[in-house]
């Protein structure tokens, strides 16, 4: 429910949203009250590449539609998923999302590492505009961070897989069309995919790489090539997201991150991992549906309050705290 973060309708909109859910049919509401809470896990459930034996769509794609969420943390910290943002020294409770190299760190060139550390130091004290996290300004989170943020939805159509994130959205083309011209740079890149058994393999080019991997500031440059694999369990409850970043202008070698994901429809709505509301209808069946997720207004709460609105409260401008 994106409205809880929008600045024009802050708290009262959230409360109205809760009421909206509460006003659904009593049967559905009761039924859903018994749903377990979505708990973060401190282990990484791995799915291996292989055959697809689950249901298929009419065009032959494995049917993996629905609402999903990452399971081990959030976007605060890439390499220590259950540590806080900006606090690299928290004792790790879950393994680093960086699975290659083995030390769990992004293999930055020295100058890039310094820059990342500088960002991490200033996340809560953004004295320059570049210290403000782009996501705090409603920018799309980019190919990988989108999967560490709120829950998200996968919809599938002949020739397409569509991801609807809390901030931004992606269309994966399965139609073998050529990539866009190289000089077009995009927050979420340009994606071409195909299925190999249980795995959706996606080639992401045209990255503007302006987003970061976490609030500790790990980043890529616009030269980044991203090779993604979405490896789905045949029971359709889990999948492993794996992305390999190749960018010789920033890293000393290609590196790979991994994010474990699970389906969330059977969990209680929590406004984060599961943002599905109960649909109103005449039948007794429990139908869940996502609410509008739009973040175009620039919200002021994040970025340490460094993003402010002008006096007329209609035209968001970036200003720095004195």
């Amino acid at each position: 429910m994106k409205t809880i973060f929008t600045s024009r309708y802050p708290l009262h909109a959230f409360i109205a949203g809760l009421l909206a859910i509460g006003s659904a049919s009593a049967f559905a509401q009761e039924d859903r009250a018994s749903f377990p809470k979505f708990e973060r896990e401190n282990y990484v459930y791995k799915v291996e590449q292989g055959k697809w034996t689950g249901p298929k769509l009419s065009d032959g794609q494995p049917d993996v539609q629905g609402q999903w969420s990452n399971t081990i943390g959030n976007h605060n910290n890439l390499v220590n998923p259950q540590g806080g943002g900006n606090r690299n020294n928290d004792k790790p409770r879950a393994p680093s999302r960086v699975v290659d190299p083995e030390d769990g760190q992004v293999p930055f060139q020295a100058w890039a590492r310094e820059l990342q550390k500088d960002y991490a130091k200033h996340l809560l004290d953004p004295t320059k505009p570049e210290y403000i996290e782009p996501l705090a300004r409603c920018a799309p989170a980019g190919p990988s961070k989108s999967f560490m943020w709120h829950g998200y939805e996968i919809r599938q159509y002949p020739g397409y897989v569509v991801f609807l994130f809390d901030s931004g959205s992606r269309i994966i083309h399965l139609d073998k069309k050529p990539h866009l011209p190289e000089n077009i740079k995009l927050w979420n890149g340009d994606s071409r995919g195909h299925w190999e058994g249980n795995t959706l393999i996606v080639d992401v080019t045209n990255n503007n790489s302006k987003s970061r991997f976490g609030r500790n500031g790990e980043f890529a440059s616009e030269n980044a090539q991203v090779a993604e694999k979405f490896i789905f369990d045949n029971n359709r409850e889990r999948f492993t997201y794996r992305a390999t970043y190749t960018d010789p202008s920033v890293y000393t070698r290609p590196w790979t991150l991994e994010i474990p994901n699970r389906r969330v429809e059977k969990f209680a709505e929590d406004g984060w991992n599961n943002q599905l509301g109960v649909a109103k209808h005449n039948g007794k069946e429990l139908l869940l549906e996502p609410y509008e997720q739009i973040c175009t207004e620039n919200n002021g709460g994040f970025g340490g309050g460094a993003v402010k609105k002008t006096a007329d409260n209609t035209s968001p401008k970036t200003t720095l705290t004195p």
Binding site: R137, K280, I294, T318
Partner: protein
């Protein structure tokens, strides 16, 4: 001058014309793609109209090409107070149009805004995916109803059903953050839109909408616009998150921080 004289058509001519008409209609109907028994609206669509500049008839002006408008009857029936607000909006349109901030265009403006949008269709819902803002609207077609006490949404809440071959969509629960066009035509959070989507042939959609808002208009009014399918080879939506333009120069890192010749510091 016999040939100028009006003559009744012979019954054989009538038959020919009738059968021609029937076969033309049948051909058009045959060509309309179907999905699960309903017309399939899937594809990338865009208006060629100048509707977004100004829904009402207008002469050429510096910020808009001339156009007869798309409002049935020509004029939007504003309540007096709202008309004053519209005039104010018009005066300040080059600054105040929410589209300039990259805000989601809303309904129906997103449909006739001059950027493509893609429709993805399933039995349970129809996804309208706009290039502008890459914003996504879901039209539920699974017999569900509007929530009773909802939020105000940018796109409102859309519930659709098929009436023969026309998709009829009821949209309400809007916020008041969007305009209807660049000329300052606007609405309140009481906006209620009923859309009618109909494929005229495989590559053309007739889009009609009835617009109602008791806080702003004296009566419901109608618009109509034609949407064309993009058929260029390899045409695709390209993300347009224009609200990020203001600050994207700050990311991902200040260019001056990178080594002048980054390749020289890359791994061997």
């Amino acid at each position: 001058m016999r040939f100028l004289k009006a003559r009744p058509l012979s019954s054989s001519s009538l038959l020919l014309i009738t059968s021609l008409l029937i076969s033309l209609t049948a051909n058009a109907a045959d060509k309309i793609p179907k999905l699960n028994g309903h017309p399939d609206l899937s594809g990338i669509w865009q208006t060629t109209s100048a509707a977004d500049y100004d829904l009402e008839p207008h002469s050429l002006r510096a910020d808009a090409p001339p156009s007869a408008g798309i409002v049935e009857g020509g004029v939007i029936p504003y309540l007096p107070k709202a008309l004053a607000q519209k005039k104010k909006n018009f005066e300040n349109r080059l600054m105040d149009d929410p589209r300039l901030k990259g805000w989601t265009l809303g309904v129906p403006r997103g449909i006739y805004y001059p950027e493509p949008f893609q429709i993805f269709q399933r039995d349970r819902d129809i996804t309208v995916f706009h290039q502008f803002g890459h914003s996504v609207r879901t039209i539920h077609t699974n017999n569900t109803q509007h929530p009773e006490d909802p939020n105000d949404w940018w796109f409102g809440d859309s519930r659709g059903h098929w009436e023969k071959d026309t998709l009829v969509v009821d949209v309400k629960h809007f916020n008041d953050g969007t305009w209807l066009d660049r000329a300052g035509n606007f609405h309140s959070d009481a906006l209620h839109v009923v859309e009618r989507w109909k494929l005229l042939d495989a590559n053309t959609i007739e889009y009609k909408a009835t617009i109602e808002d008791e806080k702003v208009f004296s009566r419901p009014w109608n618009i109509s616009v034609i949407l064309h399918r993009h058929r260029e080879p390899n045409f695709q939506l390209i993300e347009d998150y224009r609200y990020t333009l203001e600050y994207d120069k700050y990311y991902p890192y200040p260019a001056e921080s990178a080594p002048a010749k980054s390749s020289s510091t890359a791994a061997n």
